[in-house]
Amino acid sequence: MSRWASADPASSGALLSVRDLKVTFPTEDGLVKAVDGLTFDLRAGETIGIVGESGSGKSVTSQAIMGLHRGTRAMVEGQIVFDGRDLIKIVDEDLRRMRGRDIAMIFQDPLSALHPYYTVGNQIVEAYRVHNDVTKAAARTHVIEMLDRVGIPNPQKRVDQYPHEFSGGMRQRAMIAMALVNSPRLIIADEPTTALDVTVQAQILNLLVDLQKEFGSAIIIITHDLGVVAELADSIMVMFAGKAVEGGEAEEIFYEAMHPYTWGLLQSMPRIDSEKKERLVPIAGNPPSLINPPPGCAFHPRCAFRDDARLGCSSVIPEFDISTEHPARCLIPEGERRAISQAKTKTRTA
């Protein structure tokens, strides 16, 4: 059984088992397949990074796990088994009780994710009291402790301030405190550092690592920035056009990447230790249509290594073999890709 386990999710021993998840949005132009058959497992206390460009379906995945598509026109199919219960089938009220208590979420832009008219303390106290039968005063004491724990100085004073009185980094710390206030078993961090200054980004990531050790929560970290997951994730899944295109341990993704899209992501990542004044190489082209995806491999129109005559990139849909430890959705024979990957890693790390 691999990391991407295909066996029965109930016996996989994983905290979260996503099986063939599909999220479809009906629009006037047709069905948008935002997530199209995603499968992965996440064990308690582990971290998985989901990486991909805008529109690859990574945020939609996280919101599907939280059940935030309920009550909208989005159609969610497949299985999301958390702690033995399928979150897609579970009734609204049961899911609501799990939200915030068992699964918490950290959003991208803490300024818009916090309510401007209520104090930070009020909002965190609310998150705590909805799942715990405690007095306001007790909740407030707990919240002040949490604010202190996430590194907000002077929490007794800060607890009564409004979000606009916080700096960007402090706001995200408050969001993290809000997510951790019920010691959830799973934290979904959706681009938690994208809206922050670069110096603050590192602090927030370190904080997440520390808190994960302390609280033992599993983390799904969603980002378009491979640098972010490098520090944090045990395993990484690369998404493109609603599908996983490569998955593996973090080390494997960085040093033995097996998919042309991942190579592109790695090449477009700036490196502080690079001695040569090399230019960043962008991945040419735009994200494909999710209504009418390109035939064959969805990445082939942008792929520098495509070989239609030999491999049929524009007609054959490549498989994603989740029974292996390091699957990649590509038609190029594995041996050739390994050779390309080694060459690329060499130039990148030289």
Binding site: L68, A104, P116, H164
Partner: protein, 338 residues
Amino acid sequence: MFAYVVRRIFVGVIMLFVMSLVTYLLFFAAPSDPARYTCGKNCSPELIEQNRKALGYDKPVLVQYGEFVKGVFVGREFPDDPELKKSAPETIASCPAPCLGYSPLQSATVTSLIAEAAPISISLAFMAFLMWMVFGISGGIIAALYKGRFADRALVGSALVVYSFPTFFIGLSLYIFVAIKWQLTPIPVYTPISEGGVGAWLSGLFLPSLTLALIYIAGYIRLTRAFVLESMGEDYIRTARAKGLPQRQIMGKHTMRAALTPIATVAGLDLGALLAGAIITETVFNYNGLGKLAVQAATTYDLPTTVGIVLVAAAFIITANIIVDVLYAVIDPRVKYS
């Protein structure tokens, strides 16, 4: 905050002065003779000259304005003639402060005319305000909650129909059907509380304020619906859901707080504008409020009354603006005045 309020009031007073000067110049510096309009059909040249002198229209415009301002603070007398005061005190019209002028056409001071009409308009405005806030906002919330479904379409559709009808049509229809044909309510007549008690006051106000409120209800349903829907799509509502809050708390606390704050602003300004009289409604129901007084003054070239009403209307709007701005600092923590 206190300093801000003081500064706003100070600026408001200056605005009132500017308003009064502009209005004054507009009416009295026009290429027409204000004295000509001080008497009706039987105006003789002698009477015109007499009124011109009595009302001070023979003096330069700025001097007249100065006397007008002085009258507002200390009162004045028409004509301001010490000799006449000794010989024939009964011919002198006294206008105590705050004197907004004297209307020879109505043989009354403008202040007394306004004081008589204002309670009617203010009662009407507040009653309508109450109705449109209650029905407009609750209607808007219902429409937003059932977006795209029958309740929403019915509310927004009927709001559009009501909004498209002119006030006089709605007013006359209500008058004819509700009060006269079906006799569901008594014929609406304004009765001050001092004369008929609260019951008579309310029943007299019902139809006219409903007329006035209907247009606003229609507008506020659409406004509230839009604000609530906008608020429901905000990121912090998604956060509230992700926290596991029950739907009722998400709507009642998070959504409403954000949606109703901007409505408070609009409502304050609408009320301020309405206090100075609802011209059509008052005319339809024959209520002698400020709106009807204004029409009457304008159609009879009653210049002093017109100026007076314009000033009072401006004062209402300026005051409403100040109150709304100060209120905003109370309800929106992001707004800080210093």
